[in-house]
């Protein structure tokens, strides 16, 4: 009788392989088994020999427990707004689908212990058919979204923080696909209301681009909450909804009247000067100026040509002048669990059988947070404590806190 791996769940191997962006053939080559063997493992026609199983765990960087977890029902007809449906490879999409489910599971796990901020997104009576959404109505909804959140017409200080503060779960991670900049979804969570999820790509490492991505996904969440899924899957209407989200992002980040006040010349130098204030790319300002009719067709064409001539197509000036806006909600939740002693790092790793690095990336935790090594001591936090003497909760492992507790004299 062949030795196998008792309790092995084939669907978990497929999930792990896809999450790592590997084809069955590529995995079989790494494992030095046949393509058919991998297929049989995944279909549970046979289970891997112990030595192959160890190699699988090593190659896919996942603990043994992962491969024996029962698979819950796959979520059904989910409406996820991916940026580019056509040019994104099936493999890249599958990778992100898997990692997104891991993010969902991490958030679900955390919500057993903590409450996230309540969802407070504006809800408009938008149509089910995106062709019925006009450009003018997008401008109005972008403006009303600002109004709903009590924002004026100036530059938004932090898009990610704005989304999280209003109940969105935001994550940043490597997409490993040029065409996948970000995606979002209104996700149903058990008996709770829908929660907006936004996944931002970390590949481009450009704060201006990332702010735009956040605003673009906000556009989907606001404009396309009611549309039928068939329109997301249809190539023609998918292109339209992408354009609509693009227009929303422009209108949200650069309100017409306040941007007009700053727009003193239709030149790249003007946009360069405005970039630090509005925290949007020069390319975005060109698009927005054209949308609003500040520049004509010929002027717009010239602006694009000159932008390329100046070598700004791949990298614009000041691109490194702004720090990337990092999500903080999930990180804070993990820190709360650990610092309050609600869950140990061991318990977290046991409940979420992924690689620690996967959880750390998806939750925006510092590398090594889930390991049991002591973290470096933050002297900065200590001096702040001494000067301020607040009852603030510790912000991370290794931070020095006051010996005195509430009630001590």
């Amino acid at each position: 009788m062949k030795r196998g791996t008792p309790g092995f769940v084939g669907a978990r191997l497929k999930e792990a392989r896809e999450a790592r962006g590997l084809t069955a053939t590529a995995l079989s080559e790494i494992l030095r088994v046949t393509r058919q063997s991998v297929s049989q493992y995944e279909n549970e026609q046979q289970t891997p020999r112990p030595e192959v199983m160890r190699k699988i765990e090593e190659v896919l960087n996942l603990p043994p427990a992962f491969f024996s977890r029962p698979v819950e029902d796959e979520p059904g007809d989910r409406k996820i707004f991916y940026r580019d449906m056509e040019s994104t490879t099936k493999l890249a999409r599958a990778r992100m689908d898997r990692r997104y489910l891991w993010l969902n599971e991490i958030a679900d796990y955390l919500q057993q212990f903590v409450s996230f901020p309540p969802v407070d997104f504006p809800r408009f009576e938008t149509p089910r058919d995106p062709t019925e959404i006009s450009w003018d109505s997008i401008e109005v909804m972008a403006s009303k979204t600002r109004e709903y959140w009590g924002l004026g017409e100036g530059p938004i200080s932090n898009v990610v923080s704005l989304l999280e503060s209003n109940g969105a779960v935001v994550a940043r991670g490597m997409m490993e696909a040029d065409e996948l900049d970000a995606f979002s979804e209104w996700r149903e969570w058990h008996e709770h209301n829908e929660t907006p999820y936004v996944f931002l790509g970390a590949d481009k490492q450009n704060a201006f681009r990332s702010r735009y991505d956040g605003a673009h996904e906000l556009g989907h969440l606001v404009l396309h909450r009611n549309i039928d899924k068939k329109h997301v899957d249809n190539t023609r209407t998918h292109k339209l909804i992408e354009k609509q989200a693009y227009r929303f992002a422009g209108a949200f980040l650069l309100p017409a009247s306040s941007f007009a006040n700053d727009f003193y010349a239709p030149s790249l130098d003007t946009f360069r000067a405005l970039k630090p204030k509005w925290k949007v790319s020069i390319a975005m300002m060109i698009y927005r100026s054209a949308d609003l009719g500040f520049v004509g067709k010929e002027q717009t064409r010239r602006l694009w040509i000159n932008r390329t001539r100046r070598g700004w197509r791949l990298r614009e000036p000041l691109d490194d002048a702004l720090d990337i806006e990092e999500p903080r909600l999930l990180r804070r939740a993990f820190e709360l669990l650990v610092n309050e002693g609600v869950q140990s790092r061991d318990a977290i790793r046991f409940a979420l059988p992924y690689a620690s690095s996967d959880i750390e990336e998806l939750a925006g935790l510092p590398p090594g947070f889930l390991e049991d090594k002591p973290a470096p001591i933050s002297l900065k936090a200590y001096s702040r404590k001494r000067n301020g003497g607040t009852n603030r909760q510790p912000q991370g492992p290794g931070e020095i806190v006051d010996f005195r507790t509430t009630g001590d004299t």
Partner: protein, 157 residues
Amino acid sequence: MAIAEDYPEITGASKPNHRGTSYYTLLSSGSVFLTANAVQQPNELVRYAMYRETYAIASVPNLFGEPPAEGGILYAILLHGPEEEDKMRPEFVHIVFPNKDCSEYVGRIDLLLRFADLVEELRKTEEEGFEDKAFPSLRPGVEWQKDKEEGAEDQTG
């Protein structure tokens, strides 16, 4: 352009350069003409452009406060550049007056210095702030459970 809308005595126009390859904005008020340029240093000369030289040749800088003679113009350039440490802020905003061939500046006004109070005020009101509410809170049941477990430990101890 927005400045021109707010001040009727100022005219703003978007003009193509001589080759028609790009556009620049010309602000004018009577005989005073102004264009804008981003540079790295306040003393840096702007790169050559035929339109600038055309204005500079026609310009008669008179730095004693008298208006240009009949038919003459006064040409000025608004120079601006970012701070080295924090590129989100302008390091300098100067109005300079070039000589005839734009090979040097014969006069200069430092606007950040001249309007320091106004600049400080504008910097304060730049962004839309909001309360950071992205803080999770422990569910009440969880706190209770934790207390209970601690109590149980005490009892066994």
